[in-house]
Symmetry: C3
């Protein structure tokens, strides 16, 4: 999965902030991620709205994360995504994934509104800062 | 959103009947629509089955509307859609969106069956009439 | 629906094992399948990951099956799918659909992992045998 990102690519989700292939690979191998897979889950993404300009692109869309709970499958979260991409000699790669839960949060709406215009979202103060983002993560019941 | 429709395009959903850009834009700005966004929601559409004939097309598919309820995301409805489209100098535009909840309703099934054959559905008496459609709308718990 | 398969195509789902157009058509007409439609349901598939090699292809993806329960729509199951396809004079046709519920089952994971590499999954002993598969089917609450 990490190989879909550029080497110093960023994963900026309300549940956590990761940068670079090493951290991305560690997340996929983490106990929480592997527990989701063992329990039963599915992540459904809308087809992305993509704006391509030369070797850069912005993709936007939203997703549904479903987790199994005993005999039921429940929707864990609905999430907005904004993806700047770069064309490399090996194909398109993700520079950053910014994702926020769609619970009325204004920044989540900005990700979609800016994304479909092919623009960067206006980030709230501290939103691009690893320390602030890490402190904001870890709310209960929130995973990408 | 209204700009995706032709100027006199129709939005014919069990929750309401709208015609023309003015009514479409008013719906998007309505308290109910804005309340869905503020509360947290996501609308997931299947890739459409599209039949193109010269400058006309018929698209069909179904969708899942998810709304947040406190800490949970619940499926509000599953809906069948039938979209006749026209190619204009500005690109493809929607002539009509006919949508019905998939609760066993025979007309909802006709939308899909006719849609994948690239045909218009056979409409029940009154189904194309604004007054009848408006009277049928407004059932509790039903939104597009 | 049966016409999407080659004449001797196989439908290998945890809920049942079918082979050939006759059995596929009978399933679609079955009381259970028709009861799902009458009650209200929707099946949502991710865009498939497809590997094409000459006249053969492997597609993989997962799906969400939603069923209406009185006034609610609930997720009945999340399922992994692996589809080998063949190009025929009439277009692409399904040779086999192998589907397993995503409840932690290792074979379900293999369907996706092999599928995105364009490969056949390693099948557990008996997994390709109609008698064993039929005996394993019919668990409560399991339908494709």
């Amino acid at each position: 999965m990490a190989a879909l990102w550029v080497e110093d690519g960023v994963y900026d989700v309300d549940s956590g902030y990761l940068a670079g292939h090493g951290e991305l690979a560690a997340m996929v191998g983490s106990d929480q991620h592997q527990a989701f897979i063992a329990r039963g889950c599915g992540h459904f993404l809308t087809p992305a709205h993509i704006t391509v300009e030369h070797d850069h692109a912005i993709a936007a869309g939203h997703s549904l994360l479903v987790l199994r709970e005993r005999d039921a499958f429940l929707i864990h979260r609905v999430t907005a995504h904004h993806w700047p991409l770069t064309r490399t000699p090996d194909g398109w790669r993700v520079r950053r994934r910014t994702s926020r839960i769609l619970d009325g949060d204004v920044f989540a709406h900005r990700l979609l509104a800016a994304g479909v215009r092919g623009e960067q979202p206006h980030r709230p103060a501290g939103a691009d800062d690893r320390a602030a983002r890490t402190a904001a993560a870890g709310r209960p019941g929130r995973a990408s």
